[in-house]
């Protein structure tokens, strides 16, 4: 009886008051993203390296790695919503490792609105695929969850057909060159005709060197995809 009463009180409250949203990154009021987290994590004053998505000084178009030819080459552009640190990093970890995929819905609107201002409209969205065994273990692919949120907000269709056929060791401890080598032959396009001539946003959660984006973009290009734009939630920040 007490439980029913509590539920009734809750329901009545929602009828009369709009629930106050809290910041998804710090738990403070003024959600979904508070001004402080917007400034500290999304860093709107900084530019994004067109080559790898890293956060760079606004006057720069490319980071020093991409200028010296060490960045990805198969994509037209890569961009990242924010800096992979603090509350944004924790948020991605919670989605990915603590099995809370539904959390993405909390940021789907601000992220989509930001993304459509950064990248040209395309024919569809391609999520960086996960190996079947890992997908079976985790139950979801976080890149697909992000793509699904973008599809929901922007109406862009989700394009399938890319598969991850090999499960390689984690990229975390590898160098830039090792990452690229580690991913060789990892991805395939199962239906090349389906993607030919299209332009896509390639979606992932985080990018560090852009190696994963590059490996997927390579097979997309081979299948005749005309334009590939990498989009992710977070990337590193160029020092100095």
């Amino acid at each position: 009886m007490k439980g029913i009463f509590e539920e009734l009180v809750k329901a009545t409250r929602t009828l009369w008051y709009e629930a106050e949203q809290i910041c998804v990154f710090c738990g403070d009021k003024h959600g979904p993203i508070c001004p402080s987290c917007r400034a500290d994590l999304l860093r709107p004053e900084l530019g994004r390296c067109r080559g790898c998505g890293k956060l760079v000084l606004t006057e720069k178009t490319y980071c020093s790695d991409c200028v010296s030819g060490r960045g990805p080459k198969q994509l037209d552009q890569i961009t990242a919503w924010g800096h992979y640190s603090g509350g944004l990093k924790d948020f991605i970890h919670t989605v990915k490792y603590n099995t809370h995929p539904r959390l993405i819905s909390k940021i789907s609107r601000p992220f989509s609105e930001w993304a459509i201002r950064q990248l040209p409209a395309v024919d569809g969205l391609v999520a960086v695929p996960m190996h079947k065994a890992r997908l079976a273990e985790r139950g979801y692919n976080q890149a697909e969850v992000i793509a699904s949120a973008l599809h929901w907000e922007l109406g862009l269709p989700i394009l399938r057909g890319v598969e991850r056929i090999e499960q390689r060791s984690s990229q975390v401890l590898l160098s830039r060159q090792e990452r690229l080598r580690n991913l060789e032959g990892t991805f395939v396009v199962s239906k090349p005709g389906y993607l030919k001539g299209r332009s896509v946003w390639l979606i992932d959660d985080v990018t560090t060197t852009g190696a994963t984006f590059e490996a997927v973009a390579e097979v997309l290009r081979t299948s005749g995809v005309e334009a590939v734009y990498g989009l992710c939630l977070a990337a590193g920040l160029e020092k100095g």
């Binding site: 603590n98 099995t99 809370h100 995929p101 539904r102 997908l135 079976a136 273990e137 139950g139 979801y140």
Partner: protein, 568 residues
């Protein structure tokens, strides 16, 4: 973690964590090539057998396989279901040797198997154990799976769905977060996530063995003598442990020494080979009592587990743990002592309450210890569902200082030291340093400033939960370095400050319920040298909480006087 669904001879359905276990077990007739979450396997088995034994003896294997595939496809249409027959060649070697040495005196296996007794562990916990022993993840899984095969442990889905909906099997929470998974609808528990994720696609390892098989000699060397009041309560605790009731409430006066009251009963129970949990919601309490246990039970292995403990796996029939850590135990304690049942985060947290009750063995004893019992606990006592044990007097045999209510019409929000407040604070300071409680963090800094201005020759400081300087300030406070210390309710419990006088500003604020007020007043007169002192509640209105707090303290003194435990 996923499991391979296997069909054994006589067509019994089972599951195994690795394909190798299906291949090398001669009983396995065939198995599904792709592993599945345990929840789906169990669901399929229930659908096929409708609660009967999982035995299809006499049926056609091909028909059984088809039926299983059909049921699984009903659960999720995207599953790739292919049956495989184990290919066993004499030259093939089992790559997992460690688990196969069971019973052969393998020391690592023996050590691990001792550490997992009575535990309820997630796969992440098991991986942590593998890391401690420098083993591969799959080796540790294989080791504990041997216990499952021997019937001394179980794998259970971490979040399970039944006819009434989802329920987390680790903390009992039913209000879970649903999400669309590779296998259809899945769920993640949001209540116990702080000790690692719990989802419907994952499993818990539940070890059903006792901590220790036999009784052991226990050296109990108390470094104190129980007072008359403690002795009375201690005898009642012993009667409760040996009696038929399963729950009791030890309602003690603040600073009466309720922890030590449990020690003699704990010693007796340990002698009999029983397992004991001493739990508390806050880490501070665990860190405070751990050295006391270790001092009075020298050489006895005591497990000390909090969120900051790096060594999660320890040995010993005695466990001291915060209530969150209790979720890692399953029906393994004969006796649980729960200190501060009314404190955050335990109070009102149904997940922690569920965990505590499920850490208790069937027929075990649960004793709640508190100076400020919850309404629910008092109701249970009134209904006769819970025994009541009283400890109304402090060791120095002096009554508890009864709080005084001072009506104050002025506002505390303006932080103005009016003559009313100045006079009272000056008067109280003559008896000892002042601890001023305020209801909000935002009041702390302005009041420090205002008091510093008013009393320039006094040392004035203050703190609150998120204060980065909290540690050093509390050290100085304990050393008696401040004339006035302003604090939120963070200091309402677990601290003894000799000679301290307590003032509560805005005592009618809703944040101060009767429990908080009793605890704050309970800081006064705790030590034998300074058994007196005053607690003053200053507010515009006399609230029911103030009335109840004062009546509780008066009632403790009355009872103590009647029992001859205090002298006026």
């Amino acid at each position: 973690m996923l499991f391979f669904l296997t069909i054994e001879d006589k067509y019994i359905l089972r599951f195994r964590p690795f394909e190798e276990r299906a291949i090398f077990d001669s009983r396995v007739v065939c198995y599904l090539s792709d592993p599945l979450p345990l929840a789906i396997i169990q669901w399929a088995a229930e659908q096929l057998t409708r609660g009967q034994a999982r035995d299809f003896c006499g049926e056609n294997l091909e028909i059984i396989k088809k039926r299983i595939s059909k049921v699984l496809n009903e659960y999720s249409s995207g599953l790739d279901l292919k049956w495989k027959v184990p290919e066993r060649s004499s030259s093939a070697e089992d790559s997992m040797t460690l688990g196969r040495e069971v019973g052969n005196g393998n020391e690592t296996w023996y050590a691990i198997n001792q550490l997992v007794r009575g535990k309820q562990l997630s796969v992440r916990d098991l991986r942590g154990l593998a890391k401690d022993f420098k083993l591969r993840d799959r080796e540790i899984i294989d080791l504990v799976h041997n216990n499952v095969l021997q019937g001394t442990a179980l794998w259970v889905p971490s979040v399970k769905r039944n006819s009434k909906g989802w329920q987390c099997q680790r903390c009992g929470e039913k209000d879970v977060e649903e999400w669309p998974s590779f296998y259809g609808l899945a769920a993640t528990c949001g209540s116990c996530g702080s000790i690692g994720p719990s989802t419907s696609l994952d499993v818990l390892y539940r070890d059903q063995r006792l901590f220790m098989n036999s009784s052991a000699k226990v050296l109990f060397q108390p470094h104190w003598r129980l007072t008359e009041a403690q002795n009375l309560a201690s005898e009642q605790v012993a009667e409760f442990i040996g009696g038929t009731s399963d729950k009791a409430l030890l309602w003690a006066a603040c600073g009466a020494g309720k922890t030590e009251v449990c020690f003699p009963s704990a010693a007796g129970a340990l002698e009999q080979g029983k397992s004991i949990l001493f739990a508390a919601p806050r880490q501070d309490v665990i860190y405070d009592i751990a050295p006391r246990f270790q001092r009075d039970f020298p050489d006895y292995p005591v497990q000390v587990l909090t969120g900051n403990t790096s060594n999660r796996f320890q040995l010993g029939n005695m466990v001291l743990a915060t209530t969150h850590q209790v979720l890692r135990f399953w029906q393994c304690f004969d006796i649980i002592f729960l200190d501060e049942m009314d404190a955050f985060p335990y109070r009102g947290n149904r997940a922690l309450d569920w965990g505590l009750n499920h850490a208790l063995r069937p027929g075990g004893k649960l004793l709640y210890l508190t100076a400020t019992p919850s309404t629910e606990a008092l109701t249970s006592v009134r209904k006769g569902e819970m025994l009541l044990i009283r400890l109304p007097a402090r060791h120095h045999r002096k009554p508890l200082p009864v709080p005084i209510w001072a009506k104050y019409s002025g506002s505390f929000e303006g932080n103005v030291c009016t003559s009313f407040l100045i006079e009272r604070l000056e008067l109280l300071r003559r008896s000892g340093p002042l601890l001023i409680f305020v209801p909000k963090i935002s009041w702390v800094a302005p009041w420090i400033k205002s008091l510093k201005k008013q009393f320039p020759y006094w040392s004035v400081e203050g703190s609150y939960s998120s204060d980065s300087e909290r540690g050093p300030k509390l050290k100085n406070l304990k050393k008696g370095q401040y004339d006035i210390f302003v604090s939120t309710t963070i200091l309402e419990r677990g601290i003894t400050l000799p000679g301290i006088q307590v003032v509560v500003f805005g005592a009618d604020h809703p944040v101060f319920d009767e429990r908080a007020l009793v605890q704050m007043a309970g800081r006064v007169g705790r030590s034998a040298e300074y058994s007196g002192g005053e607690a003053v509640f200053v507010s515009k209105n006399m609230t029911p909480a103030i009335k109840t707090a004062v009546s509780w303290i008066k009632e403790q003194n009355k009872l103590a006087l009647e029992l001859g435990l205090i002298q006026l």
